[in-house]
Structure formats: C-alpha cells, structure tokens
Symmetry: none
Subunit: 240 residues, 4 copies
DNA sequence: CATGAATGAGTTTTCATTCAT
DNA sequence: CATGAATGAAAACTCATTCAT
C-alpha cells in the first residue's frame, strides 16, 4: 500500500538521519530496526525498501562519513603549503568538522567494531588515508624544522585522538564558543608539536610567566566548511 | 550436580577475567552469557550463582575498575608536591596503568553506554573524581606559573583523552618499549601544557633547531605499579 | 505509468511461462512474486493486474495443464481400438507429452500440495479423469485377454507412475533419443502387463535366450503431438 | 526454566517424529517451527536446544533415512545369490520398507529440493549408492541371461520409480494386504524385466490365456524387516 | 553449586498484497 | 496498465533468565 504523500527520496533521507541519531545514541547492537522504523515513520519491514540489511546500513553510513571527511580535508588543505598554516588550518578544520557532524563522527568512532570483517577492513583502509594525510602535515613540518617531535607517527596518533575526542564533551551551547575552542586547541597542539604559533619567540625563560600569545582571529578555513551537517538535529524528520 | 574440584572462589575469578576479555573483544551487547559460560567452563545457568544479571555484572566490573584506578592514583601521586614532577609521574602512571590493564580500561571507555541510567550515573560520578584529581594537577601547576594553559578544564579533557587513547593502538610487542612511550608522551604533554620538562630553558628562538631534551630515566612510578593486571591474558582461566 | 510498448496479452503469456519455469525450479513456497515479476519484467505490484493471488495463479496453471493433457489424450487415442495399439500409442503419447512439457508436468506433480483444499480437490478430480482413461486401456485389454494383470487398478498406478517419473531423469540431450526411449519403455510396459508386443509368440522356454522383438518404427502418435510446449525454454519472454 | 518431568532424550525423539510427520504432510517450506514446536510440546525457541537450524534438521532426517535404507538393504539381500531370488526379495524389501516408513520415504522423495546445494549433494551421493545396488541386481540377472532388458540403466530407473511410488497411494488399511501388494508388484516387475517368476515356462502362445502363476507364499524377507518404523503414527509423542 | 531443559520476549528479515499516483 | 511505496503478519533464530533435578 502506498501512503498518501509518501516519497521515497525523502524517506531515504529521513532514514539516514534517524539511523545516525539512533546509532550515536544507542550503538549498533542496541538500536533495533523497530526503533529506526518508528523514527522514520514506517513499519520495520519497509526499511528493506531502502537497505539490504542492518549491517549494510551501518557500512553505508560509515563509508559515506569517511569519504566525506577525506573530501573536505582536501578541499580545505590542499592549497596550503606553509607547515604552521597547514597545522593551524587542520586543527580548525578537524574540530569544526567533527563538531558539525558530531553524531556521524561518534558513530564512526564507536561502531566500527560492529562491522563484519570485510566491511571493517574497507572502512579501516579509508581511515588510513586520512591518518596518512595528517601524518604528512606533521612529518613535513618536522622535516623542515618547524615542528619538533620525537616520533612523528606517535605524535600523529596522540594529536589526532586528542582532537577527535572533542566530540565526547564539547557542546555548542556550552560556555565556549567554537572559535574559542579552536584557539585553545590550536595552542595546545602547537605546544605539543613544539611548533611556532605565529606569536614570535616565546618564553625566554620558563621560570617567568610567558606572554601568552595573542589569539589569532578566526581562521578562513572556518568559513569554507559546509553548513553544519544533518546530525545535530532535533526534528529533522521531514513530514511527508 | 557439582563438578568435582569445582570451587566457587576460583570460578568467580575466572568469570571476572573471562568477562573482561569478552567485553573488550565483543562489547556488552554482542557478548552473550553462553559465550561467557563457555569460557568459564560452566553452563550458562550456573553463572547466576555468581551474578544477579548481565547488567549487574557489567556494573560490577566497571565499578571495580574505576575504584582501583582511583586508589592507584592516590598511592602513586599523593606524596608528590612539585607540579612538574606530579605531571611527569601522572603521565607515566596513567599510561602504564592503562597499558597494563588494557582490556579493563577499554571496557570502561566503551561499555558505559550499556549501563542503565542509574548505574551509569554511579560510575560517571566515580570517574569525575579521577578527572578532578587530574585537573587538580594541571590547575595547581598553572596557578603557580609552571604550566601555561588558556583553559585548565579543557586542557584536562584534551590531555586525559590523549593519554587514555593510548590503549587504542599501543601494543607492548610493538617497536616501542613502554619506557620509550612514556618519554614520548611526557614530551608531548609537557609541550602541550607549556611545562618545563626539566631540561632547562628551551628554544630561545624557534628558528634554530632546539636542543631536544635528554629523556629522563625511567620513572620510579613505574616500579610502584602493581604487577600487570589480569587482562592481557592467555590461559588465565584456572583449572578447577 | 505505463511502459511504452507494454502489451497486456503478451505480458500474460510471459507471466505464464515465467511462472512455470520458476515453480518447477523452486517450488511454490520458495518462489516469490518478486522473482516472478523480475522475470516478467514488471514490478511485483503489476502482477495483480493479471492474477488474483499467488494461490490462484498456481491453480490456474495446474488446471490448464491438466485440461490440456486430457484433451491431447483424446485427440491421440480416441480413434484407436486395438488394445495393444492403444497401449503402445499411449506409452508414446504420455512419454512424449511429459518430456515436451517437462516443467509443467513437474509442477503438476510436485505443487499440488500447495493448493488450498478446495483447489486441490478440483485438480484432483480432473486428474482422476485421466487416470480413469488409462485404467480403461488396461482393463479393456485385460478383459479381452490381451493383457494379463492381477489387479488392474494397481497395475494402472504402477504403470502410470513409472511412465510419469520419466521427467525426473530424462534429458533430451542425453545419450538416448526420444524414439529409443519410447521403444524401451514400450518394451518394459508390455512386459509388465504381459501384453503381446507385436513380435508374435515370445519366449517358448525361459531357459533359452528369447528373441528380442524388433523395435517398431516411430509411432504415428509422435507426429500428432503439438510442437514442444513452452517450458523447455530459454528466451521465451517476449520483448514488449 | 525446566519443566517438571522434562527430558532431553525424549524430546529429541518426539522432535524427530513430529518433524517427519509435518514434513511429509506440509513440506519443508510450509512447515514452520511453531508448528513443529507445538507438536513437540515446547516453545519454538526450545527447538534450538536440539537442532542448529531448520535446514540442518532436514539434512539430518534425510541422511538418517537414506543411511538406514542402505543398511537394511545389505542386511536383507547380501546373502542371496540367485538373480530371481534377489529380485523377488528386493521387491518385497523395498515395498515393505517404504510402506513401513512411508512418511520418511515421502520426505526423502519430495524435500531434497529444499536442501542447500552442499547438503543436497551429500544426500544424492548416498542415494546413488542405493541405486547402484539395485542396478547391480538387474545387471547381474541380465548378464547371466535371466532377465532381458534393452537398457539396464533405464530399466533400473523405471523399476525403482515404480516401486517407490507405492507410498503415493498405498494405505495399509485399504483393500489390499501388504502380502497381496507384494505379490502383485512381483508379478509386474518380473514381467517388466522378462524374468522367470518361478512358475516355469509361461505363455506358450500369446493368443491363449496364459496360466497365471501361483503366487508364492509370503517371502522370508518380510519377517526380517524391523518393526514398522515410527512414522505411521498417531499419538507418537510421548507424554513427559 | 552445577546442569540441562525450558521459557518468552525479542531480533532481523521476508513477502503477499494494497493502493495512490 | 504500471510503478513504487507502503503494510502487517509471519518467519527463523537468539538469548537472558528460571528452575527442577
């Protein structure tokens, strides 16, 4: 039976949004298709007009999320050469992207374990591409003497995990604006990688209070980010 | 009927070890009690001689894990006053503890979402105690001018998440020794918090290659840690 | 919306052919209407322009198949009076018909169980007509002393089931031609019914090797059969 | 929960009997596990204490049935050398076995199509062994000049299918006793294979009414058959 | 204590069928 | 006529939990 006003494309969009919402909230195993169907506004069986299986739904979402991240990275950073500037822009990009797509990113972090082996490896491979790009930033800066790390690979892991963990606690309505957050993390990561933060020579002696650098104005990268994505997200399910 | 040689206390220990192993490998939802029973060497029904429910088992394990972490923190750090030394010892402690108790820590990080609301809040409250202790280290250092952070709360989150994420990738058999790992992370975090790392004044001018500090010898904290805990862990199930 | 070039009558023919194909391959329960629709080249919902229900489709096909068999029997055998000749022609007819309509016959044999009780009885009644005709051949031959069986009814069952089972193994591309097959079965059934096979007195003493009868030339019945029916059958679905 | 008086071994037996009953009546696809569970007297989920899956249940039953048939064949026929006697005993054995195990045999004939490819081939291989034994009987008799067939392979198929089809219509409560049935089929098959039926020279001239042979007394093979198997079978489910 | 047999509610998935467009 | 979106009932199977033995 066709419900009056039903529309496949819209239902598919609603399905995607509802799935991300539920996966981020409950996890793959705890989300059942009845919940999902309820949120989408159809019967559970109707979901199979759009997905092949629950597993394939998860795979699809994770793949899409990872691919989009890769594309956005390139759009944002490919044109920048200067190591510090690349680092600065990357920190801003990564934070803003993850906050704008908080639920998707959260699902990506926590639900990979629920993929079948084959699907897992496919996503892991995509994610490696991203990690490699980030390591490239750090290694390049280290090679030309602008960052100073003992082990670039480990620094990459530590750095990336620190940034990505942002979605565990940051809430846009909290006391910190997104710009402030970016500034603080830029400071932390520049220190971590012993990078010049653009405020010139710093801390002649550690025993005296160092002049805190002036925080730079909001980065241009911020403006290039696409509009906050579809997952932060009350009432996103369209009426049909 | 009772199996000859069965022993309640030993079975309980085996149950705990097997549960942590399975929870870290599969997650709460994907672990079923038949798997657990199989690993323990009893029938599923017999587990109920030791636990009230699957949920209560998870709660018990997470509570125990968190409490032990708190106790170890105090044993390791209460006697130290100097801010840099407290930071240094904390980094070493936290890394070593999480690596030694990798599976337990992993369960703690990933399975809290499977707790009922009431249980969740109980564990979250315990975890807050730990975070507060760590924030105390950073705030104290900042207050007395030894660390320089823009926002101590955020620095605490970033710092702690970076350290804790270690269990996502570090493997003791890998190319890095635990001591090396601790040194690298000490360097990263001291930079992040603009702390003196004990190598004197650093980087007078960022344009010249900075003298990398000499890595300090293995910290005493390492020796105080209890023997590697029960979760990394072949053949841990005792015969009964 | 109507596909250009679509044609109800042709679609109905395609539907019938596809249904027989799928029913013979998978059985009624395992064939689903999406498979059928796919083979016909329409959406599942469109099938309901041609059928009332899946059950009624099965009934329709079985009824048609049985009725056609009855008609062909009459066309082939009504004009023949001599008992041996009737038997001979019947064997040829039944084998050729079942081989030419292998899939339909197979569906008839195996899918009656999937009919509702009412539909089942309707088909069974038709089939009884056929069995009665065959029993007529045997009983008549026995009455006039040309066949010798202990129990005509049982002989009919045994005889008919033996012939019908041909579709379980005979493949036209195999080592036996259809003519050879008919000859062999004629021999077997004539022996079974102790009928004279047209080679005169046979086997005076069983201890000597009997002169095998000369196989008769291809029977006229073969030529009267309609062209091989629609079910053995690649590319039968017409373009529309 | 354990129901008072429940007993695994008895439940397994009941399950087997109920499954054969339902499979023969409805077929694999149309039998659902609720029906089966209902007949066994447990909840559907409880069946999985005894089976791995519905498919594996079918496989198990078919395998068991085929193996038992092979064993009984050997027990009944291995000691007999004379071709006519082997044939006679085989006819009696095959009919009696199939009637005694009517439902099992029926399931074997009709439900092989519901096996997965792998399972199908395993059973088909076992069944080939049986067919080969039967062909051996016919080929041997033909080689030594006691049977006269044009093509032993085809004769085997026709012969075996005719006998096996008995379960489609014979009912022990009907007008024919089992002994009578065996006699009739012995006569039919001896004729079919042009075998001496033990009544000496037969039918000197086909034009005169042949002296019908005297039916032999019930064969000893009948007595060797195990007691009628568990499938013909009202009220076979034991109370527990 | 431990087993093994069972429950019963839940899960994903399938599918004939309907009907607005 | 045909499509595509949906229903809703049923299927196989899972699993935490219970309890007589």
């Amino acid at each position: 039976m066709r419900k009056p006003g039903s529309n496949g494309a819209q239902t598919l969009r609603n399905l995607r949004i509802a799935a991300i919402q539920l996966l981020s909230e409950h996890g793959y195993q705890a989300m059942n298709l009845r919940m999902l169907a309820g949120k989408v506004g159809v019967q559970a069986g109707s979901l199979y007009n759009y997905i092949e299986s629950k597993q394939q739904l998860l795979f699809w979402l994770l793949q899409e999320t990872t691919q989009k991240l890769l594309v956005e990275f390139d759009l944002t950073l490919n044109a920048i050469d200067d190591p510090e500037e690349r680092l600065r822009q990357f920190v801003a990009f990564h934070l803003r992207y993850h906050i704008a797509n908080r639920k998707q990113s959260s699902v990506l972090q926590t639900e990979m374990r629920s993929l079948t082996a084959k699907n897992y490896h496919a996503i892991a491979k995509l994610q490696r591409l991203y990690t490699d790009k980030v390591r490239g930033i750090i290694e390049h800066g280290a090679r030309v003497g602008r960052f100073h790390v003992e082990d670039a690979e480990i620094a990459t892991f530590a750095f990336l995990q620190m940034l990505t963990a942002i979605i565990r606690w940051y809430r846009p309505q909290g006391r910190l604006s997104l710009n402030q957050l970016v500034e603080i993390y830029t400071d932390l990561t520049f220190g971590m990688l012993r990078a010049d933060d653009g405020a010139g020579t710093r801390r002649v002696a550690l025993s005296e209070a160092p002049p805190r650098r002036r925080l730079r104005a909001i980065t241009p990268a911020a403006r290039r980010l696409p509009p906050a994505d579809s997952d932060n997200d009350a009432d996103l399910i369209a009426e049909s």
